[in-house]
């Protein structure tokens, strides 16, 4: 089975200019494969290297060593991003545009025809329940609505792989539930979802497989059930054991 997302011996070093030649290793020797139709949870405490890994996958940060591939194409090639959708951790969109205009802009980058663009705009806005606010400027949206417009832009090209960075970060319980429902729906449609999250309960609910990263190194990876059996506990307990945290109380 061909992996649609693959990391091969990935290493990312950040040079600290203020301190001369010293550098910090953010990710070290990471090997990972994600297959079609999977919902894959990418876990780790703050500073573990999750966002750095996503940045390499999306071409924002170059790898110091090793390589990353999307659909078998090296991520340094923009064409590798043709079949993916990306939702950043916090919502960053042009606030002077309306949701409709934003989606039209991104659709143009995917070279969609006008008719196809309109069809997809209608479909994704219906999915994220933003039809009534489609002509309002994004600056007037609540945080939850902005997160949902983010999901809409990530889905505008009907991606085969969705990369979500903390998709429920900072949302209220209702907002989280809506995002979770959308992920579940995408999973049912056979989409591949790769997402980083701190919400272990949520990950346990929707993910087929998970990987746990700690200090830039992959500590564990596998099916949620298998890991639970191996470490004798739920995902939260697995996570704490894997990163070496021991509660003495």
């Amino acid at each position: 089975m061909n992996a649609i997302l693959a990391l091969e011996n990935l290493r990312v070093e950040y040079r600290n200019r203020e301190w001369g030649r010293t550098s910090r290793v953010a990710v070290d020797g990471l090997n990972l494969e994600v297959f079609r139709g999977e919902v894959f949870g990418f876990l780790g405490p703050n500073g573990a290297g999750k966002t750095t890994t996503l940045n390499v996958l999306l071409g924002f940060t170059p790898a110091s060593c090793g390589a990353a591939y999307l659909f078998g194409v090296n991520v340094r090639e923009p064409i590798a991003r043709r079949r993916i959708g990306y939702l950043p951790e916090l919502t960053y969109y042009y606030k002077f545009l309306t949701a409709e205009e934003l989606l039209r802009f991104y659709a143009r980058i995917f070279h969609l025809s006008s008719a196809e663009t309109e069809r997809r705009i209608d479909a994704v806005l219906a999915l994220v329940e933003l039809q009534s606010a489609r002509r309002q400027p994004i600056r007037t949206y609540s945080k939850g609505m902005q997160q949902r417009v983010g999901l809409a832009q990530a889905l505008i090209n009907e991606p085969e792989l969705l990369i979500l960075d903390e998709p429920t970060s900072g949302l209220d319980p209702l907002g989280r539930m809506k995002v979770r429902t959308i992920i579940q729906r995408l999973k049912n449609e056979g989409k591949t979802v790769f997402f980083s999250s701190h919400e272990l309960g949520e990950v346990e609910t929707v993910c087929d497989r998970v990987a746990i990263l700690h200090q830039g190194v992959l500590k564990a990876a596998g099916r949620v059930d298998d890991l639970a059996r191996q470490y004798q506990g739920n995902l939260e307990q697995v996570f704490l054991k894997v990163i070496g945290y021991h509660d003495n109380d």
């Binding site: 940045n55 064409i79 990306y86 939702l87 969109y93 545009l97 802009f105 980058i109």
Partner: protein, 258 residues
């Protein structure tokens, strides 16, 4: 090209939804009012003097809009983090730079069109002279001069981290070239080595923006510039624009956006 055009449309949309466009209209209205005083005392000298002031205002306003608009493009994308969802799409950094340039240049073209339209209409209705070919040459060269300025400022925006520093430096460089550019070689000839060589190299390396300042063509109703010269000036501006944009891309493509 489609990707660059998509980025350019967002730049134009941003410009007319921000306050800049309203400032433009206020300035245009001011220019219009000044032109209303044309033929004051029925003195042709005063009319020319006022035309000169109006054109200077147009030049300064267009320059300010071009520099301020282009200086904030890429830094604002990074600061607001809108660059991340954008670059996660199948778009290259070269296309982003090209789109930003195209958007700023077309927006400045619209600004120039509005300014000169008012100027032409009011000046023409007062003086009953319609030297449209002269106006075309002046606007055309002005627009190409702005292309060089925008490309240079975009390069500055990927080199300097603060947009304010970039605006100040770009403005100083542009005004410096406009005021002193033509005299550099004469000054160089009076210097001893190595100052003479350094200043001569600078003279030949700098884009001579003053070549594009043909306001006198309108103020004094001078004859047309030969069209071949106009063509060469266009190529000269296009060359420098391409050079600055390539440099901007080379710097931007290596930048770590994390």
């Amino acid at each position: 090209m489609i990707n660059a055009w998509a980025v350019a449309l967002v730049v134009i949309k941003e410009l007319y939804r921000r306050k800049d466009f309203y400032v433009l209209f206020i300035l245009t209205a001011l220019i219009t009012l000044m032109l209303g005083a044309l033929n004051f005392f029925n003195d042709r000298q005063i009319a020319r003097y006022l035309k000169e002031i109006c054109l200077l205002l147009i030049w300064l306003s267009a320059l300010a809009i071009a520099v301020v608009t282009s200086a904030r493009q890429i830094p604002a994308e990074r600061e607001n983090r809108t660059i991340f969802p954008l670059l996660a799409k199948p778009i290259t950094r070269a296309q982003v730079v090209a789109g930003k340039f195209l958007g700023c240049w077309l927006a400045c073209g619209l600004v120039l069109a509005v300014f000169y339209l008012f100027f032409v209409v009011i000046s023409g209705s007062r003086e009953h002279l319609w030297p449209l070919a002269n106006y075309f040459q002046a606007i055309w060269l002005h627009w190409w001069m702005l292309a060089v300025v925008i490309a240079m400022t975009l390069l500055g925006s990927v080199v300097f981290s603060a947009p304010s520093a970039n605006v100040t430096i770009s403005m100083l460089v542009v005004i410096g070239i406009l005021l002193l550019g033509r005299h550099l070689h004469q000054v160089a000839l009076r210097l001893t080595e190595p100052g003479q060589t350094i200043l001569s190299v600078l003279y030949f390396a700098l884009p001579h923006l003053e070549f594009f300042d043909v306001r006198d063509l309108i103020i004094h109703d001078w004859g047309l510039i030969p069209w071949s010269i106009l063509g060469l000036a266009t190529l000269y501006a296009a060359g420098y624009t391409a050079l600055f944009l390539t440099a901007a891309w080379l710097v931007f493509r290596r930048q770590n956006l994390n």
